[in-house]
Assembly symmetry: D3
Homo-oligomer: 281 residues x 6
């Protein structure tokens, strides 16, 4: 069960309205790697966590924190939208630069939300459940979490340079610091889990079942002209878990058959050889 | 520019048809972490790669390999669907277990694709471009790639136990081996990049801008009852890059204001105090 | 079966082209509460209506009217787009304000529809079947209808102030009047149904099954700091159907257990305690 | 900012696993009117609420309660999925009725979530932001809330009869009671707002602008054969706000023009009269 | 403006309920090529038709007919669902084959629509506006229409063999006949338009602009191993409009450059050479 | 299996950056009829092709070519985006026309892709698998292919006039030439197939089953006022396959019944006659 406190986690005071920027901030609210995503992802991982109390508790801690980040971004967007109503727009249309800003704003900020944050990305695409990952495998999910915080912080950093509003920037700095911590956090969790189970997910697949195909687990297949790719760590030396050495295959040949599928039954109506095959009714 | 060879990368010979399993295999063809995703993700990252020739070449190598994995899974699904046409179904309805299998199959495998693989997941949701990530930041994208291969291999491993078909299992073993290599590959690339730029993404955000909010980059906020979360590596010791020590905040207080937004202009039609505010037409 | 008359239901004569406004009008054509939604919603409710001839007939009357509203909005949008073709745009680019308008228009109005209305909202999101409700419960669906007309009229009212075009405004006034009638209509239908069955949906759930949990049906749980919420009608007095009195619970305690899920079987590959649990193949 | 308590709001103890029913319960977790919808809807309405402290506080109270309902349904689904892993399925396939149940389950409960709740509906469609409404008009949003609780309770009532599991039914009874209260709650809020501003949304549209088109606000247009629709309250008597009397128009004539759009410029490439119109390059 | 007649266009009398088949019929109601698609496609093409009165009138004729086909399919589905309510299901669970049928039905037919047709395909994916095409180019759209009727009739033909219900089959035969006519109709329209403007769309692109690249308009590029593709009409002889002869290019070489994109500015945060490039704030 | 060559199929050298045009070009990369669609459509048709080696080989030839077209458009878009980073934008804001261009660009080109092409259309809607068709019926699919190339070439032709950039135009001319060839190609394939099997799809539906409903296969139903539609080839003369003569039905009467559905069981909770019908628990 949850409870709410009235204060925002961090202060959000925008210096001046900017409806075009409000649209852009939607990306980190309701986009693929926005705060709605990390909120729902950590909550679902926590709700579904089977075993591992310290992981479950930690996921609930951070999932609960992220609900408050959604709250902060709604506050930021509504402040950026103050002054963007139809009656303000008429005035704005007289100045070409302001007209450009108004022309580029999200029309749904006026028509649909009445100057509030939307559960969408910067192009108005609704947030959806496909954005989140909760697979029931801890290491897999921690890698997802590290990745989500990585993309999220990258986008906030890009947004940071797109505004000169010091109020916005101050709030973003807090979020950048939290996203830095969250990257550290998932790295630490990953380190714990990899030390216990090994680095390849899932670790529990029975090794004897892998034997026959094992050589394929160490080969780089060069299928694009040029051999610059032979220079990376992935092409030489040993696998990260030391179980084998990498092999660079410069001109790989296919190992499978030319697959010739069966002609389907007539009532699939493929229209091959209609004259010849009697139809079963 | 691309070229195609007729042979499959690895052999795909299914022992016997199983239309319910065909539906389940769709998850690793057209689901969020299926082969369509890694194919399109690596191709887009390669197409968009700016600078770093060895990364671009490597992305094109593996993206090109993955097109061939989509090809293999289509071959597998069409073999699993042989024998699922309407005329076979009539016969099948006489045996209750077979009826259950036919009842659980994806109707679009008959009606829409005529016994072929679909660009959808196991519930028939069409694959979409939101599944892929190509951000223009190399380390961010390599983390996405490691994650995608992690979830993908996990799903193939789960599928492996859901069939006894030795033909299917042999093909899956090849794919599990390749997914193991691909996890190694992205780990190696990540190691290179982290050694060069540091572990936090993006590394290029100007450090002086972070100063004021820096303390928030090391704090764990405990917002869910219970303190099991204090036991993890994320709560004690130093950050992975050694730039600071973690602090466990057991009872964190909000630092922001209670936000009271402005009453919006009347022609937003909020219906607050309609009587009092004159409308501008 | 349906028939079509050539005249529009109401006159639509736009004074002058305005491609940016054409984009905004899409919200009330193909958005969540646009005319496509009410058209399809009333038609599906009518098609599926089981019993209650007067409701079925009425739903078919209004559903059929709404097809004509979609027709009117397409006429409006195509008039707003006259003069927005590539050859007009070149001219427009010379004036900064017009350039801003052209820059903000929906590119699909040129590329995809060739200056026609699109089945999408103001951000280009395609209309979808999730927007409509036809549940088979009459009172539930009438509430949906009242709500849809409420949001729809709100959006048309907001659009009204975003244009000075008297031709557009005249057509909008007709639509506002019809939306007013439709709100009245659903209120009247709701009144009839509530008088017959009671106000809570569904009314047919067996009362004896509700007994044990009945007290929860009258409690307000205060889970957000502050007690301003105690001032509303929902917190004091009796329930609207007079079956009980409201109780304001100022500091509610959870009534459930701390849920500890089972450790899943190994071939789910959760990676907990991999070493300890033997895998069943 | 938010906080989490470990106990569930109400007890959730399922008597026995039932993976087919787990799929069906997804409808009230991640479907259009499931708990994710009311949770996100009330939170967004609360975050965006401008003015009206008691409404904002109340929205935060109930939005916070609904996060806990999502938590409860995840707990229910994971219990229903215990015993549905691949190793259990093999055993199950021997019994035809159990095979039917396994054949009808959602494959993503195994492959994607590893036996956990998914942010999707009963057909696996991901939850999306279009399901929620937060328009900035209080009366409009309260009508949405009443409607959402209406559909939600209807679906839970239908589910109730689809299981004999007494543990599930006990949890559903609590939810049915809360959904009953929430219907009362929104009715009470609607009553307050309608008494203040009138019943038509938005109330603030300037009455003088409506004058010319006013007659259309009281007419029923009979556009479907048959006149059963003349029997309802919507066809006779006065409008609910007493501002006029309803008129039943038995054979309505269109009032608009036959719209003939302009031939578009040639570089739209419409292919009408290609020979005749010179192309501007 | 539209009007509705109470009778269905053709009789729809189902012999016996079959909820699994009801799910499958959804494909031709709300799937990509179902009746909702042709209804909305022809209506939007008609509404947007600029010039060409006989085309506009014809599109309105057939679009109006298709609304009635949606009506017919809703009637068919609701008859197929009679007898699938929770109380019937309990009885059904005793017979394994019936259990399989019930297990395979769409849960939303019970929970969401209360035994009515849904605006979705056979997997429950909501119909969406992307399914329809209305481009403003007549020949392009007629090709879309021919294609839609082609896929639609193919799916109905496949469904026909999946049921033995003579009532369903009688209704399908009417629909197959209409789909046959509609294929004829679009072929006839295409013949008219191609005779006037030529076979390549758009015909109005200025020929002189095509000169330089003209040779590429007649070449087959063989990019997949094997030369079976050289046997088709597309590889030999003349183009259908006689403007040139086809050339089979057996081993085509790329004609473009190796593209090396610019290194992006630092505040895109690409993480290449972070140390070397000074950041502009 | 596939291989990649480093050179682009045709040269792509953009004269100058234009971020607004970059957004528009997305339509032909990731829109419904963009290069991603034809690439995936031909590949899936080729992968799933059962029988007909020359068709399979040809589909693989052209599908492989189209992967290279996606590559070319990504190169074009990244060149159009050079110079659109935040630091360039600041400069741009000083000039109103440039500000308008920047205001109209896709914010995800900065925030999400870091100046690279996106797998989305011009409004940012992600590409999805519903865009492609692979039905297993050759003639049906060739008609889809002809249609896709038709819409695709139309959109490229429209884009051509929206830019004066000679580098872009040169690349578009190559694409227009290839799209012209591809239209020829599918016409040739269609001609082959129609000569073999007849023009109506599917040809294999048993003729004797169509007898009773055959007259409906030649009738035009005039359901929209006006008889301009009687002037087309579809209304007079013989069907394209000469099997019958068209009949223009000027005032068609419905042939079906007025459908009255059954009252559903009580635990569907329809709320009709709640008092009268006892509920089965």
């Amino acid at each position: 069960m949850f409870r709410h406190q009235k204060e925002l986690q961090f202060e959000v005071k925008v210096d001046r309205p900017d409806p075009l920027f409000a649209r852009q901030v939607q990306e980190v609210l309701g986009g693929q790697f926005g705060e709605m995503t990390v909120m729902m992802q950590y909550l679902f991982q926590g709700f579904n966590c089977r075993g591992g109390e310290k992981y479950k508790d930690m996921l609930m801690d951070i999932g609960t924190e992220e609900i408050g980040h959604v709250e902060m971004l709604c506050a930021m967007i509504s402040q950026l939208l103050d002054g963007a109503s139809p009656e303000d727009q008429e005035e704005a249309a007289k100045d070409p630069v302001t007209a450009a800003i108004m022309g580029g704003m999200n029309p749904q900020h006026l028509l649909v939300s009445g100057l509030g944050g939307l559960p969408t990305n910067s192009n108005g695409i609704p947030w959806n459940g496909n954005y989140i990952v909760a697979s029931g495998n801890l290491l897999a999910d921690m890698r997802s979490n590290l990745h989500a915080e990585t993309q999220g912080r990258l986008q906030v950093a890009r947004l940071y340079h797109m505004t000169k509003d010091e109020g916005v920037r101050a709030a973003f700095r807090k979020m950048l610091a939290r996203d830095r911590y969250h990257q550290y956090q998932w790295m630490a969790a990953i380190q714990e889990l990899e030390e216990k189970n090994g680095v390849v997910v899932p670790a529990s697949f029975p090794p004897e079942a892998e034997l026959e195909s094992q050589p394929e687990a160490y080969k780089f297949w060069d299928l694009s002209e040029g051999n610059e790719s032979s220079e990376g760590l992935w092409a030489t030396g040993s696998a990260p878990d030391g179980t084998g050495d990498f092999v660079y295959v410069a001109d790989p040949a296919p190992q499978g058959q030319v697959y010739k599928p069966e002609i389907p039954p007539t009532n699939i109506h493929h229209d091959l050889d209609v004259a010849k095959v009697p139809l079963k009714k």
